[in-house]
Amino acid sequence: MNFYLTAVLLGLGFASLALGIFISMRIFNIPDITTDGSFTFGGAITAILLVNHVSLPVIFLAAFFGGAATGAITGFIHTKLKVNALLSGILVMTALYSINLAVMQRSNIPLMEVSSVFSSFKLFQNELTQQFFVLIIFVILIWQLISWMLKTDFGLAMRATGNNESMIRALGVNSNRMKIIGLGLANGLTALSGFLITQIQGFADINMGIGIVILGLGSVMIGEIFSKTFRIRSIAIQLAFVIAGSIVFRLLLAFALSIGIDAIYLKLVVALFVLTIVSIPNLKLSRD
């Protein structure tokens, strides 16, 4: 069952990305395309600093704030320069392609014989158990932190910005600032996913972020279906479902790979699996 465990590991690695997308969706109600670039940006920063033997806490912060800066730029372009939010994301994502190449100096950096977040404090002999343990702690911390943050006055104002911008402005909140901070936070989280995935797979690649926003959106949607089915109001549990969504996505792909579907139909089958999962609760509701 090691194979399914590795799928869970990847799911946990992408959990932070899914939380990031959850936040940008809540603030904007639109998918933030910057994600494709900021994910790779996080990975690129991680790889180049790791091979230069920079200490992990520094790398962690560099990845988070690097990603946050890209999100803030998208927010700035959208709110101050009045560019459509989707286009702002696309522009920043496109520009990041060059930035990422410049950061990495080449398009692919394998991590040869460097320490990683998984090797820095060794608790288990088994490599996978060790990775699982580190990732679980990491994800729980992020999950608790974001849940707490969204329950503070600041977090409530942020969520309200997404729900009703005119109302929140009437209450004296600077909604533009909210959007910039929200997108910054979301992309910081995304970059942390890049930080983790780079270390799980052992290399950073310029194309690692392509289509990743779809993956995050998928996780968020799967999570929301669970929340709706079980009528969950608590933000913490909603976020937990989003994380579960990220893991479910990976497990479905793992399952599709293991039953040996013809390579041509792989993506079709994964899409059908996801469709099945998300439509079950609705089928049940319609019969009621």
Partner: protein, 320 residues
């Protein structure tokens, strides 16, 4: 809830079923990890399996069990496909092309890997500070030497050529390395090189058209994934402008380039396959090491030669 339970049961039974398959098969399992599908890469795959076939390892005879996985150009999928192959306890994994090799090297330190369509380990940055590559990495690699000959060929076929155009893929390390080599080779031959970057095959047409506006005399197609995917559109644009396409891979000549010098993808896969067969027979990796591609040849496309009114001597083999 009932339906969710049904799905879960199906899922778990599916998982256990694949376990059973594994136990049933006492014959050696061979994994093949492919990153994407295209005409040229499938040549290497065919060569690999033909080599196994010729050494008596056939799926049909139950002498080997082959598990093929293709990540369809998606990196998270590639990692999971690689994990799946590893979970099936294969005796060896074949990897094609570079990104598959890098992924597999990072996922397993014990299963022998037979690479193809990948550059020398140090060009992939897979060597440590002492210049040693991964211990479990075997198969066949290519260096950049072929480029010098391939570029020199432009000068012999078109003595009047002054300006050579090329596109390169910024997202592939070997493409950038190859470009630098092309640049050097051109300088030595007194050719001027016009180069433009692309990042995926959708952009290929536009970028090639931009190059053609610079009045190039010949187009040199670097064998990278963008060219492998978008060869037809490159040839179409160059044909309209009557600019011959040179390259370094036979398969690309079949797909419309004028002439090439370089590794033959089929033979490249075959060479890795022959090495894998040797390993299957001896059950040991002793004496095996990554090898350089041995079969490089000069080929030309006779139809294109007629179109451009060019003649090729007997050192070239005609393909089509």
């Amino acid at each position: 809830m009932k339906k969710i339970a049904v799905i879960l049961v199906l899922f778990i039974s599916g998982c256990s079923q694949s376990q059973e398959n594994k136990e049933k098969a006492k014959i050696p399992v061979i994994g093949f990890l492919d990153f994407l599908q295209d005409e040229t890469l499938s040549q290497a795959k065919k060569g690999f399996f033909d080599a196994l076939n010729d050494s008596g390892y056939r799926e049909n005879d139950q002498t080997v069990h082959i598990i093929y996985r293709n990540a369809q150009n998606d990196q998270p999928t590639l990692v999971q496909a690689c994990d799946y192959l590893i979970s099936q306890n294969p005796v060896l994994i074949a990897t094609c092309p570079t990104l598959s090799t890098i992924t597999a090297v990072k996922r397993t330190q014990s299963i022998p890997l037979f690479m193809m369509v990948s550059p020398r380990p140090d060009l992939m940055k897979l060597t440590n500070e002492f210049g040693r590559g991964p211990r479990n990495l075997f198969g066949t690699f290519e260096t950049l030497e072929y480029i010098d000959t391939a570029v020199a060929m432009i000068k012999t076929v078109l003595p009047g050529a002054k300006k050579v155009g090329t596109i390169f893929n910024q997202s592939e390390p070997q493409s950038v390395d190859a470009l630098n080599r092309v640049q050097k080779a051109c300088e030595q031959l007194g050719l001027q090189l016009e180069k433009l970057p692309v990042s995926n095959s959708n952009e290929a047409q536009l970028v090639v058209e931009a190059l053609l506006r610079k009045k190039i005399d010949a187009f040199f197609a670097l064998p990278d994934n963008t060219v492998f995917s978008g060869m037809e559109v490159i040839v179409k644009s160059c044909d309209r402008a009557s600019v011959p396409v040179f390259t370094s891979e036979e398969g690309l000549v079949k797909r419309g380039a004028l002439a090439a010098f370089g590794a033959d993808m089929y033979q490249w896969g075959y060479q890795s396959g022959a090495q894998a067969a040797k390993f299957l027979r001896s059950q040991t990796t002793e004496g095996l090491s990554p090898q350089q591609v041995t079969v490089r040849k000069r080929v030309y496309n006779s139809e294109k030669a007629k179109q451009f009114g060019l003649a090729f001597d007997s050192t070239f083999t005609s393909v089509k």
